[in-house]
Symmetry: D3
Subunit: 164 residues, 6 copies
């Protein structure tokens, strides 16, 4: 039956006990799509190495740093020894597509690290560009796929994501 594993029998928030699980290799990929609007998208395209370069790099670095702090931000997450975080950002028409991949060898999954990486990168992209436009929308953030772990592999039912 379906259940909330982050709630105890007395319905208090709890971390899942993973003390009897064997560490295994796990990977998760998350996507965050940021709708930039026409003016900002054009501006970034026209200024590739001078503006888009540092703007995207700041977002990538913030996302990587954010992923490492997932267990501080998300109360019931375990601290994990991340073995890799990579973040790619590409421009497709007026949308910046952020793809974050997290890996670990641990007793629990790395989905929240991938989602946090993508979200913090998206927020940073907003911050870096908000002097140009405050109307940007982070229009979808979701778990694209994960591998490893007892619950098995997962692929998001949506096919709206642009790149697999």
């Amino acid at each position: 039956m379906t259940e909330f594993t982050h709630l105890s029998d007395s319905d208090l928030p709890k971390m899942v006990d993973v003390s009897h699980k064997v560490p295994t290799e796990r990977t998760a990929v998350a996507i965050s799509r940021v709708q930039l609007g026409p003016e900002l998208a054009r501006l970034l395209k026209e200024t590739g190495s001078t503006k888009k370069g540092p703007v995207f790099q700041t977002a990538v670095i913030a996302g990587i740093q954010g992923a490492k702090r997932t267990s501080e931000l998300i109360p019931m997450c375990h601290p994990l020894p991340l073995s890799s975080i990579t973040i790619d950002i590409s421009l497709q028409q007026e949308v910046a597509i952020i793809e974050a991949t997290a890996k670990t060898t641990a007793s629990t999954g790395v989905e929240m690290e991938a989602l946090t990486a993508a979200s913090v990168a998206a927020l940073t992209l907003y911050d870096m560009c908000k002097s140009v436009s405050k109307s940007m929308v982070i229009e979808s953030t979701f778990l694209l796929e994960k591998q490893g772990g007892k619950s098995g592999d997962f692929q998001h039912p949506s096919q709206k994501h642009p790149k697999v």
Copy 2:
């Protein structure tokens, strides 16, 4: 002319210099909408005080804590003396609507704090419910409005938000 105020003349990331600005009162409201899917939405509705209660409260607390760490997460943000953060979460059909309001008296705006609060609450909602469904989508996160500051008041052009 439009410009990226977070890039220096040599296109390196920089904090905006606010040393000559007088602190004023500022408010910002951000929205994050989380598509739960039918099963999870029903489950939360049916278990109001026992499951939805602690799940939403964990998200609220995480969002408030996340807002206080905005300047650690978003590289070019100034540390701000937040005077208030409030987060409300409501269920509308299959969507959880997170509304985060941030206030400060400072030389710079509080938009990123509101957006970070909403995003971290949304990520925490995902984490608390992912044992039920991993297909949730944070389907939009945006700045609904802001008051105060030199750039004046702002309201998001979109009217898609459910509640103003």
Copy 3:
């Protein structure tokens, strides 16, 4: 002979070197008892799900989050891969009894994580209730028991704790 393992030969603070120890499973339980006073105790009892619920849940979440930051707070503690933290709070007459259990598989013990969890939960309980009474006293915080590790199992000599 008795010694301070956190001081070097030249009496400077040091972390214990655990590089040659094999990781083993370890558990520790700590208690913190908060004397609420009659008015506050009565108020919490009478308002179970509406007031006591969110107050205790905030304390539980803060305690779990605090445990994950033990090595940042306590200078000579090693960073540990916590496999579980659980916190229970119960009301006995005018006293809130916080019981925190920490688990890890590591080369060093998890006592400080359990004590930090209990202490931060107790401080948060104080904060959440201080508009009602500032006279609360955290009247005892101690290590109830630990299992695992070279120094063997431990049980606190005191029998004053209410629940084992």
Copy 4:
């Protein structure tokens, strides 16, 4: 009537809105008493500058550092611009008495900072001495007094504290 100012009308945790309050000078003093037991107390007394010195200094530094992180640890606390933290530790028979004083000029009080400073110093004292004895008890932690702020001055009703 008595109320929980950290709960919203819908009983969700919230920060108090201090945006309309004028910053004023505020002070708070907290006490934490650590029962060391006879062996450890004797050992610290006999080894003043060599052992007690660095042990107490580590606790003082950790307490000061902990106070600066109060708003990260205690979910509903505002970030405050601390103007001073001082921590004294003295040995009275078998008890180490930690007294922490916090000052700020802000729109809200500094009680939690003083209590957090005392608690983190007490936990650190435990950590520094636990290779000698694990039976230490942090036997009371409380707010001794506060000055400033709308709710006025406060002195703890208890006269059990050893030193005012």
Copy 5:
């Protein structure tokens, strides 16, 4: 007479009490010079926008982020509301010269923030380049100048710094 203001009368570390000082505008500039060696210097020069660009930008971002955490890293530092941090990096022969400028309006100076920014940028430069050479030396880090505050303006006696 000369004194250590960070030690109390009983020679315990303490924060300086600034509660009676009026906030004023303050600026500090710190330099960190990193000796890269001939191979690495040449490699960076030859790969301006592709390698040197992201390497230097990562160092700049890390330095800015580090400056915001000065009071967490340096135990007796006050938390400060930074109004600006800027970091420039230039290559002169085989040396990367990092110049960090910090500004605040506060009751205490911003020297440690500038020095921390320069140091963390230098460490990050090392990390980004250590796959090419581990022999880099951070060959000097110092306070170039400060303005504002009771102790008045300061300029470093050394004239070795390359750029004023």
Copy 6:
């Protein structure tokens, strides 16, 4: 051929993927030399246990704490389970020599942790003494040696370090 392993094929910053590496024991030693100037050096020598003691201990504690936060400060560093950090400080004429040793059992090296420990200790030494002199210079910081890991052992080519 020489390469920047912290840059991706598209020249974005990235963490190195260590998911397929087996954890092994690793050690690194870093040195930081702080030029104190004659007055400060004399003052510290003459006041051994009363001033130099707490000043050096504060620097040691800050360095140990800083090392534990290396992956938060240095963007592309992996979080590592440190098994030991030790820091020694000695006075040679007018120079304080800080030697930091870091150990881990991990898939990646511990050089940045040793360098961060030495740098944060040096910055703290500056902070603790800056009321006496602001002209101190951190005159060199470098990796003295490392053992373990695929790239093998390393010893710094310079023989200028005072103590091996």
